[in-house]
């Protein structure tokens, strides 16, 4: 479904990603671990066209997308959910969700996607008329994920969904992500600091260190000590 080859990315003079290659197969949940500031978010932004890579190839459903503008990539069903959420603050929850369905393909599926979103986040159905600037951090996170689902996605890139949330909210978010994969068959690439929770829902993981893939493992052969060591 997603095939990344030899990706390089820069911020100004600073090279953040070096020759990164990874793949995500249809239906999988793949986790991406690594210390802060070592390029995880940059990799997701490079894949989704928000910070285009300087070299390398990104293939989505067999087609090259590395040179496409961000909106064209969303239209194909590759959706990024930013850690910073980036909601529309002076719009209601419902308006935010409907803007998630901005791509032409998604507009035809508004009704069934809304149903699914309210099924995994029942709280949002009660909050639909509320302005997003008045939501709690956890609710705002739910809206961000829900808005991404409204875009009729095949591959979801989720950036640190549990960051800054209470333990209860964290659990709800992880359960929702598992449900997105299980019930809709949506492929997921997730960046997360909560290693154990993320391992519980993924099939494989990559470890990204200093802008390079250090290693890759299936989650059933995991050695937490090995991951933790990589962080230091």
């Amino acid at each position: 479904m997603l095939e990344v080859r030899n990706l390089d990315s820069f911020y100004g003079e600073l090279q953040v990603l070096r020759q990164v290659s990874l793949h995500v197969d249809a239906g999988e949940v793949v986790a991406l671990f690594g210390p802060n500031g070592h390029g995880k978010s940059t990799l997701l932004k490079a894949i989704s066209g928000l910070h285009p890579p300087t070299a390398g190839s990104v293939k989505f459903q067999g087609e090259e997308i590395a040179k496409l503008p961000a909106h064209k990539i969303v239209e194909r069903g590759l959706v990024y959910i930013p850690e910073e959420r980036h909601l529309f603050p002076d719009m209601t929850v419902m308006e935010n969700l409907l803007l998630g369905a901005y791509p032409p393909r998604a507009r035809k599926r508004v009704k069934s996607n809304l149903e699914f979103v309210f099924h995994i986040f029942p709280k949002l159905e009660m909050r639909q008329k509320q302005l997003c600037s008045t939501l709690s951090g956890g609710e705002a996170r739910m809206v961000a994920i829900a808005r991404g689902l409204m875009s009729e996605t095949g591959l979801l890139l989720v950036d640190e969904p549990s960051i800054g949330l209470s333990p209860g909210m964290r659990k709800a978010v992880f359960e929702a992500i598992a449900a997105i994969n299980r019930e809709r068959g949506i492929t997921i690439l997730i960046v997360e600091q909560e290693i154990e929770n993320a391992l519980a829902l993924s099939n494989r993981f990559y470890l990204l260190k200093k802008g390079q893939i250090a290693f890759e493992r299936p989650t059933d052969q995991v050695d937490i000590a090995e991951i933790e060591k990589a962080y230091f």
Binding site: H71, F88, D90, M91, L99, Y102, S151
Partner: protein, 288 residues
């Protein structure tokens, strides 16, 4: 009593015209963060185009207006594509776009001067007669102006709330990264925003041209008024701009009545500075 009521009404009339004029400035700033320093001349171009269609080609009012609005839309899109878009991709775009629009304003002012000459012009009123209720006396044309502005503002807010393009413009105004994440083509929305804002501004110029005399230099006065109104109301807030325009319109009428027209600017700017000191975000703040 009679004078006060009639003064308030005349304040409301100019206030609603100012509101229409300030909207275009607010729309561009709200969506793209570009402050259009050529705003007044843009309004003036709308008025002159209509005048030209009416007087030189003898076209009736409605088609003349539609012609001017279509031309304004294209002018906005053209200026965005040719100049603003490349400037936005460079550092210091906040400053360079302001200077560019200021320069474009001066250039276009002189184009108007060459084409139409320095003599004042006016667009004929579309209604004559007066409405008299007790001691209140309103000129039919001015009543029509208020009605047109109200309908126009309602149409614009419906556009922003219910159309796909309008919602996308609000989305871009509130969060550009958010808009990119949901697949909005920012460049396309900026382009339409300039088109729409020029159209709105041109329309306000037409309405102003039916009440005040036109000359190629009056745009700067409109520009400063628009600047005060949008900042007073909260930059980028359409509702704030409407309130601010009405308040300042009424203040203008009262100041003219009691102190003389020469006091209008000092009082406007006094209020403007007080509001900036107390509420730097303006009356309402907020976003499109």
């Amino acid at each position: 009593m009679e004078t006060i009521v009639n003064t308030l009404i005349s304040g409301l009339i100019s206030g609603s015209l100012y509101a229409a004029m300030a909207l275009g400035l607010t729309i561009i700033y709200g969506v793209s963060r570009v402050f259009n320093f050529g705003h007044g001349v843009v309004a003036l171009i709308g008025a002159y185009l209509t005048w030209m269609a009416l007087q030189s080609f003898g076209v009736p009012f409605l088609p003349a207006t539609l012609f001017a609005l279509a031309a304004m839309f294209l002018l906005g899109v053209g200026i965005y594509r040719l100049a603003i878009k490349p400037l936005l991709q460079k550092p210091n775009w906040e400053f360079s776009t302001v200077l560019f629009m200021l320069g474009a304003g001066i250039l276009l002012e002189n184009v108007l001067l060459q084409l139409f000459g320095p003599r004042v012009k006016s667009i004929p009123t579309f209604l004559t007669g007066r409405l008299i209720i007790g001691f209140v006396e309103i000129n039919g044309h001015e009543l029509a102006l208020i009605a047109i502005v109200i309908i126009f503002i309602i149409l614009l807010s419906l556009f922003f709330k219910y159309t796909r393009l309008g919602q996308a413009m609000r989305a871009v105004a509130q969060s550009i990264p958010g808009a990119r994440v949901v697949g909005i083509d920012i460049d396309r929305i900026f382009s339409y925003t300039f088109g729409l804002a020029f159209l709105v501004t041109g329309f306000s110029g037409i309405l102003l041209g039916t009440k005040y005399y036109l000359n190629p230099h009056i745009g700067w006065e409109w520009m400063v008024k628009g600047f005060v109104i949008t900042t007073f109301g909260g930059l980028g807030s359409t509702t704030g701009a409407i309130y601010a325009a009405i308040i300042l319109g009424v203040v203008e009428a009262l100041a003219t009545l009691y102190l003389g027209a020469i006091w209008v600017w000092p009082i406007w700017f006094g209020m403007f500075m007080i509001i900036l000191l107390l509420r730097p975000q303006g009356l309402l703040g907020g976003r499109l």
